[in-house]
Amino acid sequence: MSMRQLPVQNLLRRPGRTMALAALTALLAFSVFGGSIVVMSLRQGLNSLESRLGADIIVVPSSAQSKVSFQNMLLQGTTGAFYMDADNLTRVREVEGVEIAAPQVFLASLKADCCSVKIQVIGFDPETDFFVRPWIGQSYSQELGKLDVVTGCKVEANVGENIRIYDERCKVVGKPAPTGTGLDTAVYCGMDTMKILLKAAETKGVSHKVTSDPDDDVISAIYVKVKDGYDISEVNSKIQGHTRKCSAVRTKSMLTDVSDSLAGISKTVTVLIAAIWALALVILLIAFAMIAGERKREFAVLRLLGSSRAMLIGLVLKESALCSLAGGVLGVLLASLIVFPFTTLIETKLGLPYLRPEISSVTLLGLTSLAATVMIGAAASAWTSFRLSRVDPGTVLREGN
């Protein structure tokens, strides 16, 4: 044994005490790491959604209860289908200040024999689209052919496989990176494919017509980019006036709901972490103070044998830092074991876009949590170490056993 091993031996040979302290520090690391990961994932999800959307205004049929169901579709991937007359697209394009207007058509597949999965199908127009293409382009850069589809990362189908939608066999040609939003659970196709699918759906009795005219084209949403220099809300109200049975929604206003709840959650998590830390710190301080009383004789002996005060302080700090490190590692691991495998559950419970941050930021956060835990552990023992370094061996060793 050497002096370097003395702190280790002190910890190992008092397993009960060590485990109690490590458990407390594990709680510290667990709460700060787990909580931060959840908040970071939510923020990441919001960022991803913001950059995904890219549109200033979204026009949807007023029947879609505009915001609500559209938002759910985007955020949670609930399926939805709502339609409006296609000439609304022309009308939107006529509005001054509109730079691009990109249509999309939605179709919800069924949970029935004809379809392999119940899923949201989104048809987009490759000519004008600025919403889907840049994203799926990462995994599939060629044109989407007839009955070619790209699936979100959460759809259970691999590239090269076929999925059945209303008895049409569609070939999966791409699978883009996760966005943490409802977009991950949808299937994307070109307008030609979408027309085929709409027809097929009709034969199954799923109607999407808005008029009785069988040749009428329908669309579900129009993504609008406003030209530079134009006021978005002005363009928004002009679109509102110029179209029929539509509501134009500013994406900003849609996202404020999301960012508001995100802010709420982060605040709750922060308060929770602060409360846990305050509590654990108090318990740690009490625990260390109790240990100080118990270890007086031990330190008096070390003093007697020639330990300086600085050596004793070092011994206590080393012990508590080591113990906190062990607890911290345990806490971070435990939090990882809970937060990462249950991502989907957390996501659906919160109903917000959720995207795990880069592994590098997760690692950094883990290390920061560890460092904070070790520092708090050592700091909590600082007073105790000072007190123990001041034990008067003369008094302690005079007394009986």
């Binding site: 044994m1 050497s2 002096m3 003395l6 031996q9 002190n10 040979r13 008092r14 004789r297 031990e298 008096a300 002996v301 070390l302 003093r303 007697l304 044998l305 020639g306 330990s307 300086s308 005060r309 600085a310 050596m311 008067d392 061996p393 003369g394 302690v396 060793l397 005079r398 007394e399 009986g400 056993n401």
Partner: protein, 232 residues
């Protein structure tokens, strides 16, 4: 056995006294040790006896550098030990002063042999295992070497502390009632060990009530109410 590699110190207490304040009681300020001078010579055993509460432990702690005297100086060789900063005084204590305190002084979680080698462990000096084992053997605790000190009897703990002090091979040994919980046979043995240390140039002070102790002493003193007188 050649000890101390030529290092031998005398301990010189010059007009030391210790005043205590009591929190209760009539005379709340009193001298546990009244001004006295004492020299412990290398190669001699000095025995200090006296009634309980007469100030023996107080004097020993002052000599050990553990308790600053109210007045007076303690010199270890040429060094005025209470003028040293904590770090140096501690290092000096670890090198030169072996103390057997009156009460239990082992670390319960360490084994007997780890306890005995603890002084060397603290200062990362090379552990003299051979000498440690010899002293354990002499004091009949060799068979307990790997037993945790927490499981020992009072007498075994005491002999562990004595073996630790002797293994440090210090030029100064201060033992406070080292035979308090030992049987006659072991008491005799311990005194003989201290005598042996003195033969190899250590300056030894033993606080003891045992009449036997006087047989091994070169000088003897009695404490009474903080006043020390030499027995002749």
């Amino acid at each position: 056995m050649q000890r101390h590699e030529g290092k031998s110190f005398e301990v010189k207490a010059e007009q030391i006294s210790k005043r205590y304040f009591r929190k209760t009681g009539a005379a709340n300020c009193f001298f546990a040790v009244k001004p006295l001078s004492l020299t412990l010579e290398p190669g001699t055993v000095t025995v200090l006896c006296g009634r309980s509460g007469s100030g023996k432990t107080t004097l020993l702690h002052i000599l050990a550098g553990l308790l600053r005297p109210t007045e007076g100086k303690v010199r270890l060789g040429e060094t005025d030990i209470y003028s040293l900063p904590d770090k140096e005084l501690s290092a000096l204590r670890s090198r030169s002063v072996g103390i057997v305190p009156q009460s239990r002084s082992v670390l319960d979680i360490l084994t007997v042999s780890e306890n005995i080698l603890l002084p060397q462990t603290l200062y990362k000096t090379k552990a003299d295992r051979q000498s440690a084992e010899q002293w354990m053997d002499t004091l009949n605790i060799l068979h307990l070497r790997d037993v945790r000190a927490g499981e020992l009897s009072g007498g075994e703990v005491r002999r562990t502390a004595i073996a630790r002090t002797l293994s440090m091979n210090p030029p100064i040994i201060l033992a406070d009632e080292p035979t308090g919980d030992l049987d006659d046979e072991n008491t005799e043995l311990v005194f003989r060990c201290f005598r042996q240390a003195a033969e190899t140039h250590a300056a030894v002070l033993i606080v003891s009530h045992e009449a036997d102790a006087l047989k091994f002493a070169d000088r003897a003193f009695r404490m009474d109410g903080g006043v020390m007188t030499e027995l002749t």
